[in-house]
Symmetry: C2
Subunit: 373 residues, 2 copies
């Protein structure tokens, strides 16, 4: 009964129990806010658990700009954030400062790679074939070389999510699964809670919508219907008795993300097919082919699993983080390929927004305003 009452209102209600919602809820609860997280399915059911876990602040940045800055800021706070999580839960999240390699088969391709990353600071090192083979001996010996982004890292998103969920719950966050939010409820022009599909209302002083690829389906946000759309990614998980790689490797047709226990993720497609949660024959064939091309010994690796999930994509490929036109209603969505990386900085931004503090980065480029419907 008590739990039921607690679920009827909160200081902050969070729509979406993914990594954004959880990280934000944890931050708010630590500062004394009562927080209720409403999740359509179960916490961590979607992209948060399906992600590969590349913390690619540099490798995923294709040009200087606000997203590269946001990613760099988030990577900067990652070590302390993960330490706090691991202290709170005793879970090893698989966070490893392993570096990322971008590799090329042809000399010309290597030169192109070098040119693409030349603007970055620190500037990625070029590795000739011999240096590459020394660093990762299982890579295809026909590779011409690669560039090494040593600051980038990896994490196991499923373990990260479990740790976040436990830490948030211990800090007092209440989670409700199977709660389908239809719309944001306003009173006197301010956000006052959310209405569920069973007709019930959950009241809150402030509302954060962090519903990933399902964000546009929540009514009353004041954003366009297609502001956030699902971009399907298919991933294959292989396993070898010993880990063959330490670094994350980006190559032609696939990236490879090793785990210390011998598992290795091969990702990922990028498809706009709505919410069709399929793993397709051609995608699996192509991912396996690319993976075996990069690391020939993977030919005899065991196929463990394959899955697909949905990146929350925005037209300008920047996330939607900030205040909306409705006072008391905030968004943290549209993180596309970089949700796992951007979770800690987003949670800090949300904390600043909700408590009226100063955001750790300029928020202009991420303003939900630009997705106005």
């Amino acid at each position: 009964m008590k739990a039921k009452q607690r679920e009827k209102s909160a200081d902050v209600v969070v729509v979406g129990g993914g990594v954004m919602g959880c990280a934000s809820a944890w931050e708010l609860a630590k500062r004394g806010r009562s927080v209720l997280v409403l999740e359509r399915s179960v916490p961590g059911a979607e992209a948060s658990s399906a992600a590969a876990g590349i913390l690619g602040a540099q490798v995923e940045a294709h040009a200087p700009g606000p997203l590269a800055e946001l990613a760099r800021a988030s990577l900067g706070v990652y070590p302390a954030w993960v330490r706090a999580l691991e202290r709170a839960t005793a879970i090893d999240t698989g966070y490893r400062e392993c570096g990322v390699l971008k590799v090329a088969f042809a000399r010309a391709e290597l030169v192109k790679l070098e040119r693409e990353v030349a603007w970055q600071k620190p500037r990625p090192k070029t590795l000739a074939a011999a240096a590459l083979a020394k660093r990762e001996p299982w890579l295809n010996e026909r590779l011409a070389g690669g560039v090494a982004v040593d600051g980038d890292a990896r994490i196991d998103p499923r373990l990260l999510f479990r740790a976040l969920h436990i830490a948030a719950a211990r800090a007092g966050v209440v989670f409700r699964s199977g709660a389908y939010v239809r719309r944001v409820v306003t009173e006197a022009g301010r956000a006052a809670g959310v209405a569920l599909d069973d007709g019930s209302i959950v009241r809150a002083k402030q509302v954060l919508v962090a519903a990933g690829s399902w964000t546009s389906l929540v009514e009353g946000l004041g954003i366009a219907p297609g502001a956030v759309i699902p971009a399907r990614g298919q991933i294959v998980e292989l396993e070898t008795p010993e880990p063959l790689l330490r670094s994350v490797v980006f190559g032609r047709g696939a990236y490879l993300v090793p785990r210390d226990d011998g598992r290795l993720l091969v990702g990922a497609t990028m498809e706009f097919v709505g919410y069709r949660r399929e793993v397709t024959a051609a995608a699996v064939r192509d991912l396996l082919d690319a993976a075996i091309g990069l690391v020939p010994a993977l030919a005899s690796a065991s196929l463990r699993e394959s899955w697909s999930s949905f990146r929350p994509y925005t037209a300008d490929e920047l996330p939607l983080i900030g205040k909306t036109q409705i006072p008391g209603l905030f968004l943290a969505s549209g993180h596309h390929r970089n949700g796992i990386l951007l979770a800690p900085i987003t949670a800090r931004i949300v904390l600043a927004l909700v408590t009226g503090g100063r955001a750790p980065v300029p928020l202009g480029p991420f303003a939900p305003e630009r997705a106005r419907g």
Copy 2:
């Protein structure tokens, strides 16, 4: 207690609860024998459920000879056998007289196919590209043609096995799972039962060993240690909203076995790797690549499952069916690629052996004698 007592002895004890053991047990029980089936795992756990279910009496016969005759005889009794099973259980086993196509991309390959099947009766029809496309419109339009083996069929081995298991149990067969048979027990030179790994003895007047790839591990059979070895096959199961094929299709690098509900099996590797039950990256890549080559629309098919299992392989690729040197001990094993096809004829042979009747085919070529250890 009564069941326990029934398990301590039987007229016939069958070692192995796969399709051979079950089919034989059913046949014997219908003729009034008390039958106990001992299965290491659970009935149908191994190749019997993992098979693709091609009833390829002609398509799998590469030369005239006793195996081709045995296969033809078994295919001949299949319709009545399946009808009896379906009557006994109301299970549709997916038996379909769909025919099998062997297809070729190049004209020269087609000529080779024609030559390979020219000895067969009835002689398979040659289909030019247009006739092939008319029969199976989803096949790659670049195919040069194929040969059609109209008498061959398909079945769903999992459904077949369920039906067999239920029919056998209803006929009085007792099944015991988790019973690991170490050796055959003899008394006065005759088979008298089997010894389990817990030291207990199950007594029987006659013993049938139908342990598939694990046959050589049963002691006291008088066969060589490597008489039957596992030949791994990997299979991938795809799914499309509508079935794309009706016929079974054999092509370069894969065969395709459709189910009426839109599932489609892509098989299979042939590997000698012991009992390593793996699905490997290269095999899945190659099977998917071959499947998409044969039916391009499979590129967007969903990957449902993948598995591997073990065909019981013999050096001369003929099964071991018949009496052993030990009176009262019989073998029905080593059926390699054709266990599902050969189950009904093998069960009839076993019935004849056990009851002293006349075997439906000459048994000389299949005599366990030749695998003597």
